[in-house]
Amino acid sequence: MQVKEYKPLIVAFCCNWCSYAGADLAGNNRLNYPADVKIIRVPCSCRVNPMFILRAFQRGADGVILCGCHPGDCHYTSGNYFTRRRMAMLFSMLDFLGIERERTRVEWVSAAEGAKFAATMNDFVTQVAALGENKRLEDLRCKK
């Protein structure tokens, strides 16, 4: 029997103005990052509410990363400052419930940081891969 190689499924929420452009730049520069990262574009990192993160895990994500503009650079002035507090609180709650903290991350990536985007994704995928499948926040009905 052939053992299928485990590849984590990563959902990356990227803000339209910085991080998505950063991802675009990474692509233009032919920088590699794993195809297991599924990018969801959002108008601002602040658009991501906790439900999105949990739903991503429910639907089979093994890790969720949220990328936005650097603090101070938000297209809407202050969106990412709110994101910073919100996600800090949400992630620490997930941690409190015993869900591995390595599965969640917030990273600030500007439109000019294609290399940082690729490096972040590579790093995050490795980090999540080391944990294995998401078992603690899974919805068994959604498993194939």
Binding site: R55, Y81, R85, S92, M93, F96, R105, V106, D139
Partner: protein, 332 residues
């Protein structure tokens, strides 16, 4: 035993009804066994004298009722508020959830409320009455010839053991003496769980949350949960659900609920009081409060009207989410 008596409250409420200051009284109504007390609206003196009760089992927080009663009742409503209830009262005012002009709030001191399950753990089933008028509770049981004496301190509800404040932060009139903000140990239990390994924490919460039957009592009693249509009831939200069909569902519900009240939760403890399955839901709320206190400065929701909660505010120097974790490591 409560320092202020039922008679004093009835007398004051009657006087206010009589002189027309208020038209309705939101108070506690007598049940079958002295501990099963129901919130009720009293509109005349005779119903007050006949049914109004104030004893060690009057746990219900009336603040949330003001949201609906201000809409449905004509005239002014008198509401009795224990110190912890006044925080929810203020928080709802901050959120413009009821009309302050329609409410006459009387602050009443509270010596802590008793937990009937703890009483039963000592006295067993078969309680026919509980006399709360003495220093100790005097419990009469059909299985005992004489009443059992129970120390009030031994049967206090968790939230009263860890009472954060005996001071009223809102009222039109105060009966009895004002108390102080207390140095409470309410975060100790949270710290204990934080000190566990992730595996232990997961096992702990798995055991607790798996008991959830999604009766929504925690949500429906919560003074911070006043959405007109809850996201979990709205078929268009995509997360509407009525049963914990899966272990994910119950986690989702409780995480989102705790998050939604984070910064607005005054830690009144109603959620844990009403949970039929004894899930320590207050720990989720306290985790958020503790975390926000540590990261963004001390904040007590409802302490003043109009204050800004940490999650609707920011500073340029806030900790990064990763740093919040690291800070946790240092603490542990």
């Amino acid at each position: 035993m409560q320092k202020i008596t039922k008679e004093q409250l009835i007398e004051r409420a009657s006087a206010l009804l009589r002189d027309g200051t208020v038209n309705h009284v939101l108070g506690w109504a007598q049940g079958e066994f002295d501990y099963d007390i129901t919130p009720a609206v009293f509109s005349d003196e005779s119903s007050l004298t006949g049914n109004f009760v104030w004893n060690d089992f009057c746990g219900a927080n009336f603040s949330k009722y003001l949201v609906s009663k201000c809409r449905t009742l004509e005239g002014k409503i008198l509401v009795f508020l224990k110190p912890c209830d006044t925080y929810s009262f203020n928080q709802l005012l901050t959120e413009h959830r009821f009309d302050r002009e329609k409410v006459y709030a009387i602050g009443i001191p509270c010596e802590g409320m008793a937990d009937i399950d703890k009483v039963k753990a000592i006295c067993g089933d078969g309680i026919s009455s509980i006399d709360c008028s003495g220093e100790k509770l005097s419990v009469t049981s059909i299985y005992e010839d004489s009443p059992i004496s129970v120390n009030t301190a031994d049967v206090l509800t968790e939230r009263c053991v860890n009472c954060k404040s005996k001071k009223h932060v809102a009222y039109d009139e105060l009966l009895g003496d004002e108390g102080d903000i207390l140095d409470s140990a309410r975060f100790d239990e949270v710290a204990k769980i934080e000190a566990m390994t992730p595996d232990e924490r997961f096992a702990f919460w798995q055991n607790e949350l798996s008991r959830c039957i999604r009766c929504n009592a925690c949500r429906d009693v919560c003074p911070a949960c006043t959405c007109e249509v809850c996201v979990f009831n709205n078929p268009k939200s995509g997360v509407e659900n009525k049963a914990p069909a899966n272990s994910f569902e119950e986690k989702m519900f409780h995480i989102i609920r705790a998050f939604h009240v984070a910064g607005r939760c005054t830690d009144c403890g109603e959620c844990s009081r009403v949970c039929p399955q004894n899930i320590p839901l207050h720990l989720l709320n306290r985790k958020f409060i503790k975390e926000m206190n540590e990261c963004y400065g001390e904040y007590q929701a409802g302490e003043t009207v109009g204050s800004k909660s940490p999650l609707t505010d920011y500073t340029l120097e806030d900790l990064e989410p990763g740093e919040v974790f690291d800070r946790g490591d240092i603490n542990a």
